[in-house]
């Protein structure tokens, strides 16, 4: 029996004002999959990602139709706080709070009501270890997080997300500002998290999608053009537009 998908969208349409950004997107993502999402700029990749944890709703003009299911349950029935706790996101540019390294990771547990100092310390250490940052920062947890390098900051963001124990982690072009070595470290962290989390990776870098993801989706002008096993999608795309994109004829 096929297990229930962790995330499923049914006829998802997204609008900013009167502009339709996503057109009837249907995707089902099973547990512990890394799904890559590729496509040129303005294809709706980020909007799709941010629809999943309702961050789009921070924009006044945003509206959507269709359904998004998390573990079979319509996310409309889940409160913002709980939904965003379950579905974490890593932004394109490493975004850290102007507090210490420790403070950044401890923020999530704090707002979710964990006050015991020992527990928080344990959660922070655990999260930093799973984001493969612990060894680099364990001696300077109280230093400002902004002093870390870009790659370290991005892994700090991953640790911060892990600290609230999400089920799903969304990555919005997480390596767009990083050098190749930092990129490799972030990708490493993603692969090692694979067993426990469902991960969705939006990327402009088709090579990154092919390195990390098992399945890959190609978005174009708000449409989901094609979705399939990454290897098949890259070597033998069914749709001509996908072929054009990955062979570099446009985008």
């Amino acid at each position: 029996m096929v297990s229930e998908p962790v995330i499923k969208t049914v006829d998802l349409n997204c609008f900013f004002g009167s502009l339709q950004v996503l057109k009837s997107v249907n995707i089902a993502i099973p547990h512990s999959e890394i799904l890559g999402i590729i496509g040129p700029a303005n294809s709706g990749k980020t909007t799709f990602l941010r629809a999943l944890n309702r961050l789009n709703c921070l924009h006044r003009t945003y509206s959507q139709t269709g359904r998004i299911l998390l573990d079979g349950c319509d996310i409309g029935k889940i409160s913002d706080n709980l939904l965003r706790k379950k579905i974490g996101i890593i932004f394109a540019l490493p975004q850290v709070l102007p507090v210490s390294i420790f403070g950044n990771v401890a923020y999530g547990p704090k707002v979710h009501g964990t006050t015991d100092k020992a527990t928080v310390s344990r959660i922070v250490e655990e999260a930093l270890k799973r984001a493969y940052l612990w060894e680099e920062v364990k001696d300077r947890l109280n230093e400002p997080a902004v002093q870390l390098s870009g790659g370290q900051q991005q892994r700090l963001c991953i640790a911060r997300t892990l600290a609230v124990e999400p089920e799903v982690i969304l990555y919005d072009e997480p390596c767009s500002g990083l050098d190749p070595i930092s990129t490799a470290k972030v990708e490493d962290a993603m692969l090692k998290l694979k067993a426990s989390y469902t991960q969705i990776l939006v990327t402009n870098n088709t090579k990154q999608a092919s390195r990390v993801s098992e399945r890959c989706a190609f978005f174009l002008m708000g449409e989901l053009v094609e979705i399939g096993p990454t290897k098949a999608l890259f070597t033998n795309p069914k749709d001509k537009r996908t072929d054009d994109y990955i062979t570099g004829r446009f985008g």
Partner: protein, 282 residues
Amino acid sequence: MNGAKIRQHIAFSVLGVLTLLIVVPIMLVILYIVINGAGAISWEFLTAAPRNGMKAGGILPAIVGTVLLVIGTMLFSLPLGVLSAIYLVEYASDDLFTRMIKLSVVNLSGIPSIVYGLFGFTLFVLLLHLGTSILAGSLTLAIMSLPVIITASKEALESVPFSYREISLSLGATRWQTVRYCVLPYAIPGVLTGTVLSLSRAAGETAPILFTVAAFYLPRLPRSVFDQVMALPYHLYVISTQVPNIPLELSFATALVLIALVFLMNLVSIILRAHYRKKRLW
């Protein structure tokens, strides 16, 4: 030297001279007051009540009155102003109603202070039966200070990067937690600046307290918030223009005390600001 360098030189010189044009008159005013008033400052002047039809004695009741009025004003206007600003920036949707509120706030800061005085007199003194009292005066000054506090707090809140809010919300924090932990701490320096500016103005205002609290001559300390008090700016006005044959030195000394008081407030805010800036880890 090439043209661009010369132009830069000229620009810097012009800007420097313009800055001096602002700083020098202020320094001269302060210097003038200090030279003319310092001689009259004594322990008695600061700690005794006026005697002899204000020609002798001190100005303690007026100092206490002004301090009480500033504290009272702050108690009302600071929480109200900051909370309104938080509502306007973080919660209110950008509709016609909100825009009208914002426009009103801006316009309110341009209203002459005597109008606030009359408004406070009608509302607090007469309608709410508070009488001419510290309470009525503080409330009037608070209403006058609100627009500046709201505007400054609003700008301080808006200058906090949107990404902080996004991070916090994306981790599942509520709006209030986001404001409390990720926005407000970084807006406090700006809020303080606005508040102190506004309170400094309140401390020096005469018109709003004229009908609502100020006593012409009351050589004792107030007993409750429903008591009248003397206040430094009004006292200064009285001894300079209303009572004949008062040594000019006393006026200057009174002005000096008022300026020192305002300066002290600014000093406290500078220290607080530095303290909060340190909290932000860069």
